[in-house]
């Protein structure tokens, strides 16, 4: 189990705890990661509004770099996943367009075959590693904990671009993983809606209302914390949560965990190794409850 | 008091065109429609709109193809208007913002359609009607024309030999109102729901036919009911003639392009009556696939299908589970269009003062015994405009009529009687409609004879009796769609009766009206229109001569 590991920007920026926890979990479950150091940002759906072809070329370059390693490509961000899948679909559908892009890549000695299958850590975990294997490694089942899944838009839609046809359960992987970790998934209407991050600089009030609504709803439905495979969602749901609480005029204090942190806790990995102290909304209440749970 | 100089009923292409052109004359105009304008059935016209756009294509050639297509029953003065005004109509549309597909110079591109000697059909992929409807609605929004949206006319008000308003139900609130108008233009579309199955939308209940008929305006050529050659067996949805225009084949169970035997020159692009009869013959003689023949586009270029026939590909996938790129799609003739309708002159005026009509609701007649594909959209715009303008001329300078309150009361009592029958012993409107539709399809379809027509006549008569006991579940006011449907079925039964009577009356075969007991066209006795008038004792039939200008009747081969 070895992957060309596309880290994205945020795990090397504002969410260092994501990189930390992912690395720890990968090591623990025997997943080898070859860090794609020279890979660039996907453009996050922003560069495409300046120049679609440019965004496509950036991603084709990343795919080509992954192909050089001969390894399957894994990312750790819903947004990266969505952008990569979208670009890949466009490149595969129009060979003449792919050829145009490859002309641009040629200068750097790169070429993309059109055959990459970029996948998020969440998908890889379920589809390659397997939940039975995960269950067998769980040291401390997170029983009695209610966890609200938050997917992120880019990994949820459009389903036809994201391979849901071949993998119809991709829409419930988070719940499946939460259960494999021994916890109970919380159902609520906001779990696949927008966190608000993409418009935080354009329409702060709307953005924070979205974040506040989802966090509030999850808490009302009894969630002890929320888990997300998307670091951008994490930024809006965690780092902005105090401001979101003011906008929706509701006290909010719901810890937001990265997917790898949830898994790491169930695997019994050290809190410090998971970066659980690097959150705006304190994860202490969750840690205390988890530590009180019996080991399997 | 609600009142408008001109009130247009129906907001499809003909209705909106009539309203736009009436409003340009500076009078007070409103549209009343039982659905939002863009829900109208003009949407369903997929293939295109005909016009002699090219320099080497005189409009007279388009007119000749139309006359021939009509089996010489179309009025040639009207057809001359239709075809000569076609190119300017297309240009007007283009200037309004219509996005026609283009040729290599950026000019409006043309595609082939049935029954025509050359390419003459302007189009937008296979959503021409939809795009036209939306673009005309854009103009209506720009003009700010008042629309009574989701209102239903329960009856026309006629006083002193002239129509002077309508009684209508506001479906949102349940309020019944009298709307006075100096002129009323009926653009209420066709009556597909009189048949089962039909390619038509659920709203195509022929309201205007029955309402005009009831106030004394005769209906013309109602026996001329078009069966479209390519409808889906599942739900009757239409697969555009544009597919055959792009080169699609029709094949039977033996894999044979059977049109070779029926129309050796035009093949699949013969006129619709010819192709539908050929298909039905193949089906009746056992060369069918579960009651269908196959529409085959597999030999066409993939991009052509994706760009020009994408909607019908979706329809095939959606309703038959067939990807037309990979496999042929089962189709069969399906009830599609009423060539007949409210008799009007070329200005859209009916036999009753103050009452005008255009579009499928009207019979000018430009389609005669068989309408050419892509002439219906043209009909709506050319005659919608004329009806709008002439209604304004009529309305100019006359006063609003005084209508007594008792007129409103009559309709209110009728509705209350239906609402009062909400027990279990009445008849469900749906049961009556289904029986009517199946009877019409069986006996008044592609092939007809006296025995079957008489049987249909008896069935419709008995359904009318049963209708007196129609009941509803819903007694509320807001969006009582149960009541609406019951009212529509009452109107449809009148339309069915008019169709059957006219079909029995015409003892020959012409266009879409094929009598197995009178298999030949009989120009000596029947080169004329049938007119049906409403009377206490039942339909009263008369005839009207066909207007011939420059094309003498000749034998019709494709």
């Amino acid at each position: 189990m070895k992957y060309a590991f596309f880290p994205g920007c945020v795990s090397r920026g504002a969410c260092p705890e994501l990189m930390q926890s992912l690395t720890a979990v990968a090591e623990h479950i025997g997943m080898e990661l070859e860090l794609m150091e020279t890979a660039s940002c996907t453009g996050a759906g922003v560069i495409s509004e300046r120049n679609q072809k440019l965004a496509d070329a950036l991603n084709a370059r990343n795919f080509a770099l992954a192909e050089q390693t001969g390894l399957p490509l894994m990312n750790i961000c819903s947004t990266c996943q969505g952008v990569m899948s979208g670009v890949n679909e466009r490149l595969k559908a129009r060979p003449e367009y792919l050829a145009e892009i490859n002309e641009v890549l040629a200068e750097e000695g790169l070429s993309y075959s059109g055959k990459a299958d970029p996948r998020n850590f969440m998908w890889v975990l379920v589809e390659d590693f397997g939940l039975d294997n995960l269950r067998s490694l769980v040291k401390r089942p997170l029983s009695e904990l209610n966890v609200a899944p938050f997917y992120g838009c880019y990994i949820s839609r459009p389903t036809d671009v994201l391979g849901y046809h071949d993998f119809p359960q991709r829409g419930v992987y988070l719940e499946m993983i939460i259960e494999a970790c021994g916890a109970t998934p919380v159902d609520y209407s906001g779990k696949k809606k927008c966190c608000g991050f993409p418009i935080i600089t354009m329409n702060r009030a709307n953005s924070l209302t979205m974040a506040g609504n989802h966090v509030g709803e999850a808490a009302d439905k009894g969630a002890d914390f929320m888990v997300t495979p998307c670091p951008l969602c994490h930024l809006n749901l965690d780092a902005q949560q105090p401001d979101a609480a003011r906008v929706v005029q509701t006290p909010l204090n719901l810890p937001i965990l990265h997917l790898s942190q949830l898994i790491g806790m169930a695997l019994g990995i050290d809190d410090a190794a998971l970066g659980l102290n690097r959150h705006v909304v304190s994860t202490n209440p969750v840690r205390e409850r988890v530590h009180a749970l019996p080991l399997a | 008091m609600l009142e408008h100089d001109v009130l247009v009923v129906g907001a499809g292409l003909a209705g909106m065109q009539a309203a736009l052109h009436a409003a340009r004359q500076g009078v007070s105009v409103a549209i009343l429609t039982k659905v939002h304008p863009v829900r109208s059935h003009s949407n369903a016209a997929q293939g295109g709109i005909n016009a002699a756009m090219e320099d080497d294509d005189p409009w007279e050639d388009h007119a000749y193809d139309t006359v021939k297509g009509s089996d010489y029953l179309g009025d040639q003065d009207a057809i001359e208007v239709l075809c000569s005004e076609a190119p300017e109509t297309i240009i007007d549309l283009e200037h309004m913002g219509l996005i026609f597909n283009r040729g290599s110079r950026g000019q409006i591109d043309l595609r082939a359609f049935g029954g025509q000697a050359r390419k003459r059909t302007c189009y937008v992929a296979d959503i021409t009607g939809q795009v036209m409807l939306h673009v005309i609605y854009e103009q209506l929004m720009k003009a700010g024309t008042h629309v009574y949206e989701e209102w239903f006319v329960t009856s026309l008000v006629r006083q002193n030999d002239a129509v002077c308003g309508v009684v209508a139900l506001d479906l949102r609130t349940g309020a019944l109102e009298l709307i006075r108008a100096k002129a009323v233009i009926l653009c209420t579309g066709g009556a597909g729901r009189v048949y089962e199955p039909s390619s038509n939308a659920l709203i195509c209940t022929g309201d205007g036919y029955a309402q005009a008929y009831r106030v004394g305006a005769p209906l013309m050529d109602m026996e001329m009911v078009q069966y479209h050659p390519t409808t889906l067996p599942g739900n009757g949805a239409l697969m555009t003639e544009g597919a055959r225009g792009e080169g699609a084949y029709l094949i039977n169970a033996d894999g044979e392009r059977f049109m070779e035997r029926y129309a050796p020159n035009m093949m699949e692009l013969a006129s619709r009556d010819v192709v539908s009869r050929a298909e039905q013959t193949e089906i009746n003689e056992g060369r069918d696939i579960d009651g269908c023949v196959l529409l085959d586009v597999r030999h066409l270029d993939r991009n052509t299908i994706l760009q020009k026939l994408s909607q019908i590909r979706e329809l095939g996938l959606e309703y038959e589970g067939v990807d037309i790129i990979e496999e042929p799609c089962p189709v069969r003739p399906g009830m599609h269009y009423m060539m007949g309708g409210i008799k009007t002159d070329i200005q859209g005026a009916t036999f009753v003062k103050g009452l005008y009509s255009a579009g499928e609701a009207a019979c000018v007649s430009v389609h005669g015994g068989n309408r050419l594909g892509a002439n219906s959209l043209l009909d709506t715009l050319v005659f919608g405009k004329r009806a709008g303008e002439s209604a304004v001329l009529y309305a100019d300078g006359i006063p609003f009529a005084d209508v007594p309150d008792s007129r409103l009361q009559e309709d209110r009592e009728h509705i209350e009687r239906i609402l009062a029958r909400n027990g279990d012993d009445g008849e469900r409107a749906a049961t009556l409609r289904l029986a009517m539709g199946q009877t019409m399809h069986e006996h008044v379809g592609v092939f007809r004879d006296q025995k079957g027509l008489e049987q249909a006549q008896a069935t419709i008569a008995s359904l009318k009796e049963r209708y007196a006991n129609v009941r509803v579940d819903d007694t509320g006011k807001v969006f009582n769609t149960d009541l609406l449907f019951a009212l529509e079925v009452g109107l449809m039964l009148d339309v069915a009766e008019a169709i059957v009577s006219s079909a029995l009356f015409r003892t020959e075969s012409r266009g879409a009206h094929y009598r197995t007991d009178f298999a030949d066209r009989n120009d000596d006795e029947w080169l004329k229109h049938t007119l049906v008038f409403h009377a206490e004792t039942g339909p009263r039939l008369e005839t009207l001569p066909v207007t011939i200008t420059q094309w003498q009747p000749a034998q019709r081969t494709y």
């Binding site: 354009m202 329409n203 | 996005i99 939809q130 939308a201 969006f479």
Partner: protein, 329 residues
């Protein structure tokens, strides 16, 4: 075939109007649509059920409603695809619009937004005697937007509208695109300016719900992104959206990797009030050990970032060499 439908009902004339669920069992052909089931109920089981419908073939746009929680055209949704083992098919009115009765919503909300974008052509003058000459590629591009049947599915499930009724919304913006990209329209610049204001293209969150639920492949989000691109290229740049995109692009160009604080600062622009709003958030990040201290001039770059920069330049050079297409009259 048997189907069970759980329908969200609402009767405004009831004594105390409140929505409620009612379950119906229907026996219909196997390939029946959800609409076929509802029509069957209305015609033979319970005539009080109100639903808008007309064409039955996904062109009139009347029967938009939520089926199993997602906005769809009921006529284009097979019942058997919706009935998971044993569970009833849930049918509810569309969202983001007031319910008038049962499955019928007030579409005025929808149409008022459409009217807001001045949805008609303002023809380029002088109007030619014949048709405007337009390349077919342009027509094919506009046809994608004209495919819209105004069913309101995208509006029903739009997450931005859910929090802000002033957002023009996906359908109206896709409609606007149809004029922005029509070379026969004379008001492109005004349109782009208006669409870049509050409530316009920059209030879209990229949630992809409109793309997912659109039954006609209009992909409103893609049209919105295209309007942003057109607006930025047309010099409509004095807004946070453009500043954000520009800053983002610039940073990736130079370093290959995002510098979040710089994007934030540059997006907000020279607006001290807005800048202040972000101070507490910055402090929180710093305290949590999350804010990368290596921001601005100290921002780290990916190894070989020059390659990314050259890639940008190559793509831009190729694009400049390509001739633009436009209207001829």
């Amino acid at each position: 075939m048997q189907f069970t439908l759980n329908v969200r009902r609402y009767d405004p004339e009831a004594e105390n109007p409140a929505p409620y669920w009612r379950e119906y069992e229907v026996d219909v052909p196997e390939n029946a649509s959800v609409l076929d089931c509802l029509i069957h109920i209305r015609e033979y089981v319970d005539g009080t059920l109100a639903v808008r419908c007309s064409c039955r073939s996904a062109i009139c746009g009347s029967c938009m409603m939520r089926v199993n929680g997602q906005a769809r055209l009921a006529c284009a949704t097979k019942a058997k695809d919706m009935q998971a083992d044993g569970a009833a098919i849930t049918v509810e009115p569309g969202g983001n619009m007031p319910v008038l009765k049962d499955l019928i919503v007030d579409m005025d909300v929808f149409w008022n937004k459409i009217r807001q974008v001045k949805p008609w052509l303002e023809p380029v003058q002088p109007v030619p005697e014949r048709e405007y000459l337009v390349p077919n590629e342009t027509i094919l591009d506009l046809t994608v937007a004209m495919n819209c049947v105004m069913c309101g599915a995208c509006v029903s499930d739009c997450t931005s509208l859910e929090v802000d009724k002033n957002f023009i919304g996906p359908a109206a913006l896709a409609k606007a695109y149809r004029f922005v990209d029509d070379p026969r329209d004379d008001t492109r610049q005004e349109r782009l300016e208006e669409l870049s204001e509050y409530g316009g293209v920059y209030d879209c969150t990229h949630c992809f719900f409109c793309v997912e639920v659109c039954p006609k492949d209009v992909a409103p989000l893609d049209r919105i992104v295209e309007i942003r691109e057109r607006a930025q290229n047309a010099g409509v740049t004095n807004n946070a959206g453009t500043r954000h995109a520009k800053a983002f692009e610039g940073i990736i160009r130079d370093s290959g990797i995002l510098d979040e604080p710089m994007v934030l600062l540059k997006s907000i622009g020279m607006n001290p009030v807005e800048q202040l709003k972000n101070v507490p958030g910055g402090v929180r990040l710093l305290r949590a050990g999350k804010l990368p201290l290596a921001s601005g001039p100290f921002h780290h770059k990916i190894p070989g970032h020059d390659n990314v920069k050259r890639l940008f330049e190559r793509v831009e050079a190729v694009e400049e060499a390509q001739p633009a297409q436009g209207v001829k009259s």
